[in-house]
């Protein structure tokens, strides 16, 4: 059914691209977007060094260990970004199936001997370089869904069945990530990106509002039940109860100060210790072994401690500028496919930033989400920059 539709839709799209090509000679690029990204990358490098130097010198006797690793990934990432920015984004349409299946395949590879266990979690692949398939899946899903929505048109977005079918497709890699890598946060993001893209493109506004409403309601119910203690006992298996500790720790971090609540509490201490203007760059004491994953999930708390609310808000503003540029590019994209690609990138970054800061400020239960461009993590930076490259290419296609 989809294949039939596809042939019809293909032609105008191609025609459109040819017309765009002719007008693209001026080579407009969204420099505001580029500068925001570069600013965030450089700031990220500084913060990674600040947050990790103590631990790196203890563990590896080299305070720049994490910095070097991040610098390498960033350098490769920028090159990749510039290359991708020169590839016509319509190219990705052809890779949609490969991107989707490839993502799932890479996730499956984690259970093979290629998988690497770090810090007790099996989430990485050893392919010469270590690679986190969940990060690949995010990009893969953006491309796949942009293509799917574009080609499927109303069949996908206009009907409940189509929407359910799409969400089911998104659910496969999400489920794999959740089951195989036990990485709840990545699963949320992957599914969130798909959900968001569908929501933007689907005319069924109310369905999504209802869906979000139900999700929020369920979440609130869980929180209520958990916070009211023994209601669940006997009904839910004890292994599940253990998982719910995370929720309890979120509600009362002090009560779990030495276990699940430790990281959250230390993060709150950092924010509190930072005050309005912070202790000054490099002056954090919480990074000296107190905040776990200081250069990673919790880097925002170190930013708060060293640069204060002022610095934290500045970073948030920078992300806001970035998202604003995405919105502009998406809304002015020459075609739906380009627009959807940028929407996907928008969704990816927005979800991650909001969730990360929410976790750091204990606004939601703790789950390991990195702060895009700033947190330590090679795969993450590399694929984010690829996404930026795609967005930049879309921006180049805009007729001014």
């Amino acid at each position: 059914m989809i294949a039939g539709r596809r042939r019809e839709l293909d032609r105008p799209a191609f025609r459109q691209r040819e017309s765009v090509k002719k007008k693209k000679a001026g080579a407009y690029m969204d420099y505001s977007l580029l500068f925001a990204v570069i600013f965030l990358l450089l700031f990220g490098l500084i913060m990674v060094y600040s947050a990790s130097s103590y631990e790196a010198s203890l563990k590896f006797s080299d305070s720049t260990y994490y910095l070097k690793s991040q610098l390498r990934a960033t350098a490769i990432g920028i090159v990749v970004m510039l290359l991708v920015a020169r590839i016509d984004y319509h190219f990705w349409k052809k890779t949609a199936i490969i991107a989707y299946i490839g993502s799932c395949f890479l996730i499956l590879l984690v259970i093979t001997p290629l998988g690497i266990t770090r810090n007790g979690a099996r989430r990485w692949l050893n392919l010469g370089l270590s690679l986190q398939p969940a990060e690949v899946a995010k990009l893969g899903l953006i491309i796949f869904f942009a293509t799917l929505i574009c080609l499927g048109g109303k069949t996908i977005t206009g009907t409940i069945r189509g929407n359910f079918f799409s969400l089911l497709l998104a659910g496969i890699p999400t489920g794999l990530i959740l089951v195989i890598t036990k990485n709840m946060s990545s699963a949320i993001i992957v599914f969130g990106i798909a959900f968001f893209m569908l929501f933007i493109s689907s005319p069924k506004y109310s369905y999504y509002l209802i869906a979000v409403g139900i999700a929020v309601g369920l979440g609130a119910l869980v929180v209520y039940v958990v916070s009211n203690g023994s209601l669940l006992e006997g009904i839910v298996p004890s292994s599940m109860l253990f998982r719910l500790d995370r929720v309890r720790a979120w509600l009362h971090p002090e009560a779990y100060a030495s276990s699940k609540g430790y990281q959250t509490l230390q993060s709150l201490y950092s924010i509190g210790a930072g005050g309005i203007f912070g202790k000054g760059l490099g002056q954090s004491t919480q990074k000296l072994g107190f905040v776990p994953e200081a250069q990673n999930d919790m880097i925002f708390s170190i930013i708060c401690e060293e640069l204060g609310i002022f610095g934290a808000v500045a970073v948030i503003l920078m992300f806001l500028i970035l998202l604003w540029r995405f919105m502009i590019v998406a809304n002015n994209a020459p075609d739906e496919f380009g627009s959807l690609l940028v929407v996907g990138v928008f969704a990816h970054i927005a979800i991650q930033v909001v969730l990360n800061i929410a976790v750091v400020t204990n606004t939601m239960p703790n789950t390991g989400i990195t702060l895009p461009f700033i947190s330590f993590g090679g795969t993450s930076v590399l694929f984010l920059l690829m996404e930026i490259g795609i967005a930049l290419n879309v921006s180049r296609s805009i007729r001014v």
Partner: protein, 796 residues
């Protein structure tokens, strides 16, 4: 509819655009909300959290230990140094981190690398105290011991437990230092030892404790005024090195000969060690530098509390028994009344030694025995010096002009003083003597006369000048204060009489050696010292300890005269002197023997000694040997033991110090030297009692080890002076007419024959063998058992 929108806008539907804007606004709002949350956290809990963060910063202020300085000998050989060692510290919290994946690999690595460690205990501790960050489980590991484990921690050494389940962590090594003495027991009395890390006990380690110790460094963190944590490292200051005047070679020569002596004479007459105490000081009389100082028994400085090789029971405090075999019943007769305060050198209460001994239980006999072994006899124990004191009496008299040295004195064998007859060691009397002859023969009567010529005040004045009763201030811990054990203004005539030949008051070895050096070096009293300079941890000299002259005690001329007299003690014809057996072949030597009777007098216990210096004309080396209560049948006749010990030491030390022989060496001396060289080099374990040989003029070997047999060689008709024993004082109450009469008879005739088998004098009237000391007939068959019982019978 979609197509319309596309055409209008070109590409993207308005609805999509709107939604995107809405979403963007939503994101913006959530950013605002999150920023508000940041502000709220600061507003509501900022103060608390700030405090919390500060209280978390228990940045372990870690002590960085200093390195205690070395002790090196005069040639730079290390006698003591501190070696870096490591304590194994377990950080259970770190081991438990990351859900405990480090636990098993770490336990396995520890088990593999430290086989001696108590793993179940560590496992139990770590499991029960997951929050513990610091617990020491092994101490004083060497670098070699911890290197394999460090390798595993670094990942440089593969750890063949296949599964990659986590790295080894939670164990670290804390630096510390361990004191090492590479020569084991050598110079133990001088060096002292270290306990409890860096506290020195005895000797140099105690005296120079503060110099040797440095200042601990510290690694610490603190909050500066901006509430910012700063970490600081104050490095440790290592201690200073002290350069000793001790010479390792001389010290080992001395200790070897003491050991030979001790092993030869152990259990010889009575069960027990060769002597209660043995002490030797070798020093330079011209500047006070101590070359060697040793006692016996020795202990391993690396394990000072381990005395497994020593039978402690012999060193426990006891009332010294009479010199009789335990089988003999002791007669409980009353002590003879003498005008001398009872001072026992062996009594630890009176010696005023080391206040800082590690053990507290003063009354525990085993502890007291250990203390006795640890402490330095040469400086910490006082004793009556005996005849070695005589040159001091002469020096005082000459220097004050009370005698000229050209007088002659008549010795009848005794001198009545204050109602007692105080005898010469030669009860038969030495006849008419010059001062020089009197010293050479060690005549008590002559010295009593000289002391009387000086008078009490003058004698006391010189006694003070020679520093008796004062500490020498030698730089060693535990020097005895013998000020209460000397004579004061209230001394009586009898006191003066016995004091002239060194009885009735106590001195320490170091006092004697320092004073004697002044007698022979021109009269300059140098502070004896063991340290010549102090270096800092980089090796730069920070303090030079130059020779320190306290005072000139006698004139150069008096000193020269004394050298002449003292030379006669050793270099005269052997029938005319007491010290001939101390002379090392090829050298001229001066010196003085001593045979002090110990208190209570009736027990016949003696302290024998010899103070010798070479060359006699220009002294370069002074050697003082003291043997307290030698394990022989007749201790009073065993002075030869001290002279021979002195000679053996000198024979080896002199060539080492480049003091060249000036005298011809006879063939018998040469043979003797060669034989000794052999036995010395073979070491103490091969030495039998026969091998320490003295050869007389005829080349016949004579047993030197045993006092009485040593008298054999004195068989010649013209020898009046039997043996080397000379000056045991016998203060006999006048109420015993028999003794006085018989003594008088013999002396008046002055024709004495000697028993060829024992060397003892024969009664001219009856032909009975007489005890040379009491001049009572004795039963030769019972000779080795001489008891007071026998004497008592004879007296009646």
């Amino acid at each position: 509819m979609k197509k319309e929108k596309k055409n209008k806008q070109g590409h993207v539907s308005i609805k999509m655009q709107k939604k995107l804007v809405q979403v963007f606004i939503l994101v913006f709002l959530s950013f605002v909300g999150l920023s508000w949350r940041l502000y709220a956290i600061n507003r509501d809990s900022g103060g608390d959290y700030r405090k919390q963060v500060m209280s978390q910063q228990q940045v372990a202020s870690r002590v960085l230990p200093f390195r205690r300085g070395d002790i090196v000998d005069r040639k730079g050989s290390k006698l003591a140094y501190s070696e870096k060692v490591y304590n194994l510290v377990v950080d259970a919290k770190l081991m438990h981190s990351e859900e405990g994946i480090h636990l098993e690999p770490t336990f396995r690595a520890m088990e593999q690398c430290f086989p001696s460690i108590n793993m179940p205990k560590i496992r139990e501790y770590v499991m029960e105290n997951p929050g513990s960050r610091y617990k020491i489980f092994a101490k004083k590991l060497t670098l070699d011991e911890i290197t394999p484990f460090r390798g595993i921690m670094d990942g440089t050494v593969s750890f063949n437990q296949a599964e990659d389940e986590g790295s080894v962590t939670g164990v670290w090594f804390e630096e510390d230092y361990q004191r090492r003495y590479p020569y084991g027991s050598l110079a133990g009395d001088v060096l002292g030892f270290v306990q409890g890390g860096n506290t020195g006990f005895f000797g140099l380690e105690e005296y120079y404790n503060d110099t040797l110790n440095g200042v601990n460094g510290r690694q610490y963190g603190y909050m500066n005024e901006d509430s910012v944590m700063e970490e600081k490292v104050r490095p440790a200051e290592d201690g200073n090195t002290i350069v000793s005047t001790i010479d390792t070679n001389i010290q080992s020569i001395v200790e070897k000969h003491i050991r030979i002596f001790a092993e030869t004479h152990e259990n010889e007459y009575r069960e027990g060690p060769a002597a209660d105490n043995i002490g030797v000081i070798v020093m330079n009389p011209n500047n006070g530098e101590i070359y060697a100082m040793a006692g016996y028994p020795v202990f391993d400085l690396n394990h000072p509390t381990d005395m497994s090789g020593i039978d402690l029971k012999w060193y426990m405090p006891k009332t010294p028994s009479a010199n009789v075999l335990p089988a003999e019943p002791e007669e409980p007769g009353g002590d003879p009344e003498v005008g001398v305060e009872p001072h026992e050198a062996t009594d630890p209460e009176n010696t005023g030694v080391s206040q800082n001994e590690p053990p507290k239980e003063e009354d525990n006999p085993e502890m007291l025995a250990r203390n006795k072994i640890w402490r330095n006899f040469c400086i910490s124990d006082s004793f009556e010096p005996g005849s070695v004191m005589k040159p001091f009496t002469l020096a005082g008299a000459l220097d004050s002009g009370k005698i000229t040295g050209n007088e002659t004195y008549m010795c009848n064998g005794y001198l009545p003083v204050g109602g007692f007859n105080i005898h010469c060691h030669n009860r038969l009397g030495d006849g008419l003597l010059t001062v020089e002859q009197g010293l050479a023969k060690s005549c008590n009567v002559l010295h009593m006369d000289v002391a009387f010529a000086m008078g009490k005040d003058e004698w006391l004045r010189y006694n003070r000048i020679f520093n008796f009763g004062l500490k020498t201030n030698i730089d060693l811990a535990g020097e005895a204060n013998a000020s209460d054990l000397t004579f004061h203004e209230d001394m009586g005539q009898t006191d003066l009489a016995v004091a002239s030949f060194g009885q009735g008051f106590n001195v320490t070895m170091i006092q004697m050696a320092a004073g004697f050096s002044a007698l022979i070096n021109g009269g300059y009293y140098y502070q004896p010292r063991v340290v010549s300079r102090i270096l800092n941890s980089e090796g730069a000299v920070i303090e030079e300890k130059d020779p320190r002259i306290y005072k000139q005690v006698i004139s150069e001329a008096t000193s020269a005269k004394l050298r002449q007299y003292l030379r006669a003690v050793v270099m005269s014809d052997r029938s005319e002197c007491t010290g001939w057996s101390a002379r090392p072949a090829g050298y001229t030597e001066g010196g003085k023997t001593g045979t002090a009777e110990k208190y209570p007098r009736k027990d016949r216990n003696y302290l024998i000694s010899f103070m010798g210096f070479v060359p006699a004309e220009d002294p370069q080396v002074l050697c003082y040997t003291v043997i307290d209560r030698p394990n022989t049948a007749v201790q009073s006749e065993s002075t030869r033991l001290a002279t021979v010990l002195n000679k053996d030491i000198m024979t080896e030390v002199l060539p080492y110090l480049n003091v060249f022989p000036t005298e011809p060496i006879t063939e018998s001396e040469l043979a003797d030297l060669e034989e000794k060289e052999l036995s010395f080099s073979e070491g103490a374990t091969l030495i039998s009692s026969n091998s320490v040989l003295i050869v007389d003029e005829n080349g016949e070997p004579v047993y030197a080890g045993e006092g009485e047999e040593g008298l054999l060689e004195e068989g010649a008709e013209d020898t009046k002076n039997a043996g080397d024993g000379e000056d045991g004082t016998i203060v006999v109450p006048v109420e015993q007419p028999l003794q006085r009469d018989s003594a008088g008879n013999v002396i008046s005739e002055n024709v004495i024959r000697y028993d060829p088998s024992t060397g003892f004098p024969l009664d001219p009237a009856t032909g009975e063998v007489l005890d040379p000391r009491t001049l009572l007939p004795i039963d030769t068959s019972r000779l080795p058992k001489r008891s007071t019982e026998g004497e008592g019978e004879a007296a009646d």
